[in-house]
Amino acid sequence: MPSADLLKLTISELAPKIQSGQVSPVELTEAALAQAHRLQPTLNSFITILDEQAMSQAHQMEDALAKGDYRGPLHGIPIGIKDNIATAGIRTTVGSQVLADNVPGEDAHVVALCKAAGAVILGKENLEEFAAGVTSNNPHFGAVHNPWDLDHVPGGSSGGGGANVAAGVTFASLGTDLGGSVRLPGTFCGVVGLKQTYGRVSQRGLLVTSFNGDHIGPMTRSVMDSALVLQTLAGYDPLDPSTVPVPVPDYTAGLGVRLAGLTMGVPSDYYFDLVDPQVESAIRMAISALQELGVQTIDVSLPSMEFAGALRIAGMADSVVTHEPYLESHRDKYGPDTLYRTLAGQFVLGKDYSKSMKVQRMIKEEYAQVLQQVDFLVTPTAPVAAPRIDAKYIELGGEKHRVRGPGSGMISRNTSPMNSTGLPAITVPCGFNDQGLPIGVQFIGRPFNEATLFRVAGGYEAISPSRGRRPQISEG
């Protein structure tokens, strides 16, 4: 099979070809590396491309196959890792100058799991500085470009991963999501992005972010692939106290099962209050499509979301504490957006932090009640499609809202609440705006019930207007 065709496949399509010997991990990795180098000047999606390591791993996986040691669906599959996830012996910058020379001694737990499953690590992917924003306009390593329109952002903070998956460079990329940083690149790049339940996947080896709701999650080209990657990542890690010892089910078991009999909740509060008309239209069409598949609809009320703005208060304080040692020694190495957004956190009062935690609890309980009535919730993933790279503001509700830096947060308003509740959420492509930029629909589920989310997302994916669409990249 020509390498260009190989790179268009999904993991679930490739896996049987690798297992049967029809496709070799070495030829696949060579093709992916060639694609990475070809597109790097255009997308700027990597900070480090791991040619030697990737080829070495590919040869190991080929040798393993020859000995009958097939590791599963990720065997020989090239993937990307966001550059804030530790990789042993490989520079891990967190998109910063502060940690430009940081070389971890150990792999993050998720990286170790992927390697054990046979995945080939293609490179470390570009991101927002310190993963603190939604654009991936990195002040030190340059802006990542959206494969669907190079003048637009890929979303952030895991923008390199979103761009690579969409552009046929990696078959999956691991990102991190503290306010939507997997789901926003998912929606802006037209791929599937998963933030599973808090506690489902170990965060050990995730560097320098807030400890308030961070998650490592996959971006993939299909819902099936998302399930396959989560299958590899999920589980209790005794060395990460944030993980929960809940048994891991077979995430692919429900894929393809009819959706009739399920009930979806459509929030009447908050999520549709500030949304671009074209985005809202795409989401309403997705809701109609789900109804045609037999899903019952209930309008649900989430009145406590009126106070959702307070959820960010804890994160502000967390951030300045996380950055404290770097701010003391390397303040001059920060880009202004991250620096001044972070420094604002030093003014958060303790009583307000406590109130933020209580609001988080109040909202969490409200979602728990609503999710007794419905199997899942459906919302726009982002209120807009991808802004231009040079955009300082977006306009919504007749007002201008900052895209990045101090005072920003509008773009992540629909994703960040689930970082506080810890509930699982997945974004699936659901169409395009009139500029040809992707739009994503977000499904939110019950705690530790990613299986139902995959069933719903997979059922919708099969009829989505985005199905089969790929970006045509104009290389510079």
Partner: protein
Amino acid sequence: MPISNETLKAMIRDFNGFEMTDAELELIRPEIDNYLAAVESLDGLDLSNVMSGRLLKVDEGRSSDA
């Protein structure tokens, strides 16, 4: 609910925070304004009976699928 640069500077001085010039304080102003607006939105909201978000309760949501 605006807050003056003098107050912010006093907080930095008295609580041993990170020094900031007037120009830098203006750069963080939008983030501070968002924070103060969020706090203001909580005026009148009784949170006295709400447990901390960090504590687990046995009746959170439905049981897992596992």
